[in-house]
């Protein structure tokens, strides 16, 4: 019980997010209307993804510093959960785009998707796809762990400007660029109505806890699979 309190919390927060997110009153702005409820899901996926990638990055550094194989398992598992969250973020975003950015259906989706923020997100997914391809090209465990840790660190640091700096400098339809009024999407308190913040912040925590939970399950499976190897080492 002492150890599983956060899992219960994650469950409660997500039940709250889904019920309150779908039922509570939200401000209705032109174009956005009720689709703003997607905020409780779409933005949380990106939060979760970034947090997973940061944890993976930290474990890669730890692996290089300590050479403990367990850290490689951690880094790999968090990266894979982060990738899944990224795909979900893209999917929820694509649904949102079709109703908000494409009022007339004659526009091509391709033109709309050339957004700095979306390019950043695509780069993130490509980098982690490449990370897994790199991993699979090794047969030697230690070498695989070390080289992929190096790539993880390098790619993550290079990813940082393409997600956090460049989209903030160029105009975009996405919230959080200089063309729109807001600075930081999601964290700027002027951007969001108070009634929405009551749901949004718990939602972020809930989804993040859930993703950590999934990652820990993956780690446990991996640890069991490689138990014989780890015991020998």
């Amino acid at each position: 019980m002492r150890k599983s309190w956060w899992k219960i919390l994650a469950l409660l927060l997500l039940i709250y997010t889904i019920t309150a997110g779908f039922l509570w009153e939200v401000p209705r702005l032109p174009i956005l209307n009720e689709t703003i409820r997607n905020l409780y899901f779409h933005v949380c996926m990106w939060f979760g993804m970034m947090i997973m990638f940061i944890i993976s990055f930290v474990y890669s550094i730890k692996y290089l510093a300590s050479n403990k194989y367990v850290h490689d398992i951690y880094a790999r598992s968090y990266a894979s959960v982060g990738t899944v969250l990224g795909i979900l973020g893209y999917a929820t975003g694509a649904m949102w785009v079709t109703v908000t950015w494409m009022p007339d259906q004659h526009q091509s989706l391709g033109a709309v998707l050339k957004e700095p923020k979306l390019i950043g997100a695509a780069i993130a997914l490509l980098i982690y796809a490449a990370y897994f391809v790199l991993r699979s090209s090794f047969t030697d465990m230690d070498k695989r762990a070390r080289v992929s840790a190096v790539y993880n660190i390098f790619a993550f640091v290079m990813l940082f400007p393409s997600i956090w700096i460049i989209p903030r400098l160029v105009g975009s339809l996405h919230p959080g660029s200089p063309g729109s009024d807001s600075g930081n999407p999601a964290l700027n308190k002027d951007d969001m109505d108070a009634t929405m913040r009551v749901v949004f912040y718990p939602a972020v925590i809930g989804w993040t806890l859930l993703s950590v939970w999934i990652a820990t399950l993956r780690i446990r499976i991996e640890l069991l699979k490689e138990k014989s190897l780890l015991d020998a080492a």
Binding site: I123, S137, K143, F154, M158
Partner: protein
């Protein structure tokens, strides 16, 4: 020997190797020439400036993959062991970065000249575009040097370099394409130009620092 002298010696060794085994060099030259010739045949006579610019940078990207790809693969295990005993990993990677940058600058120039020859010259400020090309070649070569160091550790490395490098190079490449529009007489705010230059320089510095920090871990086997 001091660090600088060692780096210089390593760069010299690479240059000498390149001069002795010229098939690599000519191979890449032929690659550039034939790619641009294919473009020449497949495109309308004088392509629009935007198309020209995009094609130019995409070709730069592929030229760089081909130029830099061999830099770590050509070193076999025994030779790496020898370098290990005479130089530190930092000296080794800095030497490789410098050598690949020199090689890539040369290749960028060649491809620029061939582009002008075959695909006409829509650039309004040729000198400026020349400078941007050099800066771009340098940036791309830095990233791909690190990628080839990583890929050399894996088995099927040639394809891997492209897979690993493309997502990482994307932001840089987009910035370069944007900046080079400056040479096509596109009007920019002055602050925007400096912002672009600052970002590109910052990313280059980041790659160099990361290469120096991370290469020692790739080095030891």
């Amino acid at each position: 020997m001091t660090t600088a002298a060692k780096i210089l010696t390593l760069v010299k060794k690479d240059l000498l190797l390149e001069l002795r085994q010229q098939h690599n060099f000519y191979g890449v030259l032929l690659y550039i020439a034939s790619t641009i010739f294919v473009l020449y045949l497949s495109l309308p006579d004088s392509p629009e400036a935007n198309v020209w610019n995009s094609l130019f940078w995409v070709i730069q990207l592929f030229v760089c993959v081909n130029t830099v790809a061999k830099s770590f693969i050509q070193e076999n295990r025994g030779r790496m062991l020898y370098f290990y005993s005479i130089a530190s990993p930092i000296e080794f990677i800095v030497a490789k970065l410098i050598f690949n940058a020199i090689l890539m600058l040369l290749m960028s120039l060649v491809s620029l000249v061939l582009f002008f020859m075959f695909l006409s010259n829509p650039v309004s400020n040729t000198l400026l575009f020349f400078v941007i090309t050099l800066a771009g070649g340098l940036s791309i070569s830095l990233v791909f040097t690190v990628m080839s160091a990583i890929a050399a550790k894996a088995q099927q490395n040639a394809a891997l370099i492209a897979i690993l490098g493309f997502p990482v190079i994307l932001p840089l490449l987009l910035l370069l394409m944007r900046l080079s529009k400056l040479a096509f007489a596109e009007v920019f705010r002055e602050s925007a130009v400096w912002q672009l230059i600052g970002l590109i320089a910052g990313l280059d510095a980041l790659v160099i620092v990361l290469a120096i920090i991370l290469f020692p871990f790739l080095w030891k086997d």
